[in-house]
């Protein structure tokens, strides 16, 4: 975990989101898929005390540009995210990372599903490549409120082959997502689902996967206002392997958590946004 000043060197629209490439060699050289970066937002005159913590979308280890990280920012999430999205090339930003636990990769090839919703799906291209490199078959499912809320569909098609896309039906996104996931798990030999989303969607994924005995590795893309484990604001209730309830800090002990360990109902009920 390092603190550094990063310089934005490239930024482009990605549907409704903003994709940033930031030079931070200290971070770029050690991050793995599923890990996070945490940003101070609002600049010198900021009234925002909380950090914004995001999954890393990709890294390029030190090279021409001296090591870059990439993130995908959803500007409508709150004023801090908006500020982050509005940064322009050559702007500097305070970053801490890499944070937390990476997606655990299987030692040998298995059939896997990689599933993401909205901007949370940012790290899944990187993850899919890593899985494929280990000989895994990868099914990719991307969900979002509209076509413009899907991250990296085209890039993913290049890497993965089959990419399915989920957008809301008449009763919203969740029912369609559940149905699609269920159908896929039924029709395939998938033994693990890697998912990155907000808590309500992850909860649904875990619930759908449970009867299939499929392991879910869930990246919880929720508010983590310090990112360093100091504040306790990101705690997630889990049931330990001993069957006893405890909490773990999403930023340092997550954000990838095994879906079957999370006490989803309690977690989702207690979730409040940490921003106005």
């Amino acid at each position: 975990m390092v603190e550094a000043r990063g310089e934005l060197i490239a930024s482009r629209r990605m549907g409704v989101f903003q994709h940033h490439t930031i030079v931070v060699p200290e971070l770029a050289d050690r991050a793995r898929p599923g890990q996070l970066a945490s940003f101070a937002v609002g600049g010198r005159t900021s009234a925002l005390l909380g950090r914004r913590t995001l999954p890393l979308a990709a890294i390029t280890p030190s090279g021409t540009y001296g090591g870059t990280i990439e993130v995908v920012v959803d500007p409508v999430r709150d004023a801090g995210m908006r500020w982050l999205a509005d940064l322009r090339v050559h702007d500097e930003v305070d970053v801490i990372g890499p944070l937390g636990r990476a997606f655990p990769l299987p030692a040998h090839g298995v059939d896997s599903m990689v599933l993401g919703v909205g901007a949370s799906a940012a790290p899944l291209g990187w993850l899919s490549t890593a899985l494929r490199d280990r000989g895994c078959r990868v099914e990719l499912m991307l969900a979002g409120e509209t076509d413009r809320h899907l991250v990296g569909v085209i890039e993913a098609r290049r890497v993965i082959g089959t990419v399915s896309v989920v957008t809301p039906g008449p009763t919203g996104l969740l029912p369609v997502l559940r149905d699609e996931l269920q159908r896929t798990l039924r029709a395939t030999e998938i033994s693990v689902v890697y998912a990155a989303a907000r808590a309500p969607e992850l909860s649904a994924v875990a619930e759908v996967a449970r009867p299939f005995g499929v392991t879910v590795q869930a990246l919880l893309d929720e508010a983590m206002p310090c990112g360093t484990g100091l504040c306790g604001s990101c705690e997630v209730p889990v049931t330990g392997s001993d069957g006893i309830s405890r909490t773990i800090r999403c930023c340092t002990e997550g954000a990838v958590i095994r879906g079957d360990l999370v006490e989803w109902d309690r977690y989702v009920a207690e979730l409040w946004e940490t921003v106005r």
Binding site: M1, E3, A40, A47, L48, L49, G50, R51, G80, D94, I96, P225, C226, T228, G229, L230, C231, G232, S233, E235, T247, T252, E270, W272, E273, T274, V275, R276
Partner: protein, 323 residues
């Protein structure tokens, strides 16, 4: 850059209520963990003392997550967080013997004066007690015998807690009473605490606050135990420190060290707090925003002393009261 490398000439050491500190910049209770995280960040040595999250007689869970809500220049958070029991200290693999860990101040909490006393009693019996340089009593907790009003809002309650904790601790151990600034007569409560054995006063705990969720229109945290911290409250902290120091100068309060906490985010804030009468400051919320804050404040304090031509940071203390 370490604080020392800026200027070897300026003396940053202070003494706060019997506690000798390398610099006036301590880490506030609950904002620096028990040391693990700061060690991992390489920042444990940035604070001259680490105040632990509040410990209780028995390990307590809480009905809710200790969630932080962002408000303008501040954080709103619950004041009744889950807490570790003082009896469990040994079992928790705290890194207090590790290299780079500064003196540790244990914060105690409770809902009855007896519960504070019990927590102190258990603390004293722990072998880790050898690493404890002082105790800070978090008086922002609700008093069960007084309609759950914070002890810090009632001179009798506060006095009793301090007296009972004092009884349990070694005579020479620095004991700090952590007060709340949102009372109409802070000096009266401070006086009670000093008379019953506090060697130092810490102001302020988070101020009572509330935030309401839209669209549910319900309080986002339990109203009775919600506090406001961060730079938003700095002017109130400064005012509280000023008031305590003025009371010492006028004889209304015995001579006692004051430690400022609440909104200290940069060197100029620390200078203001010292000038208002604090012997030391604690950095809290700002460590969550930027864990390099303690170091920035310390380095900046050296620079401010240099700029002001002050050879020892002790010369700043109470300066705003001089004519």
């Amino acid at each position: 850059m370490t604080a020392e490398s800026v200027s070897a000439d300026i003396d940053l050491t202070v003494n706060a209520g019997g506690l000798a500190l390398q610099t006036p910049v301590m880490g506030a209770s609950g904002c620096c963990g028990f040391g693990h995280e700061l060690l991992r960040l390489g920042r444990a040595g940035d604070v001259s003392a680490l105040v632990t999250p509040s410990l209780t007689a028995r390990t307590q869970s809480s009905d809710h997550r200790g969630v932080l809500l962002e408000v303008p220049s501040g954080l709103v958070s619950p004041t009744d967080r889950p807490s570790l029991g003082t009896g469990q200290l040994e079992a928790t693999r705290l890194p207090w013997d590790a290299d780079g860990i500064p003196p540790v101040i244990v914060s105690l909490a409770g809902n009855l004066s007896g519960a504070y006393a019990e927590a102190a009693d258990q603390l004293r019996r722990q072998s880790l007690m050898r690493r404890v340089a002082g105790v800070e009593v978090n008086l922002a907790c609700g008093d069960r015998k007084n309609d759950d009003r914070p002890f810090a809002h009632d001179v009798f309650g506060a006095t009793k807690v301090i007296a009972r904790v004092r009884e349990q601790l070694p005579r020479d151990l620095p004991l700090f009473a952590k007060l709340s600034a949102d009372v109409h007569d802070l000096v009266e409560i401070a006086r009670g605490c000093v008379k019953s054995g506090a060697t130092g006063l810490v102001v302020s705990s988070p101020l009572r606050a509330l935030s309401i969720d839209l669209p549910t229109l319900r309080p986002r945290l339990t109203p009775a135990v919600t506090g406001l911290s961060g730079p938003a409250i700095l002017p109130i902290t400064l005012r509280a420190v000023w008031e305590l120091r003025a009371a010492v100068l006028s004889g209304r309060l015995p001579n006692v060290a004051v430690v400022a906490v609440g909104g200290i985010a940069r060197a100029s804030d620390a200078v203001q707090a010292l000038a208002a009468g604090a012997s030391a400051v604690q950095v809290g919320s700002v460590m969550l925003h930027d864990p390099s804050s303690a170091e920035r404040v310390t380095t900046g304090l050296l620079a401010e002393c240099e700029r002001l031509g002050i050879p020892s940071v002790k010369d700043l203390i109470g300066r705003a009261h001089h004519d």
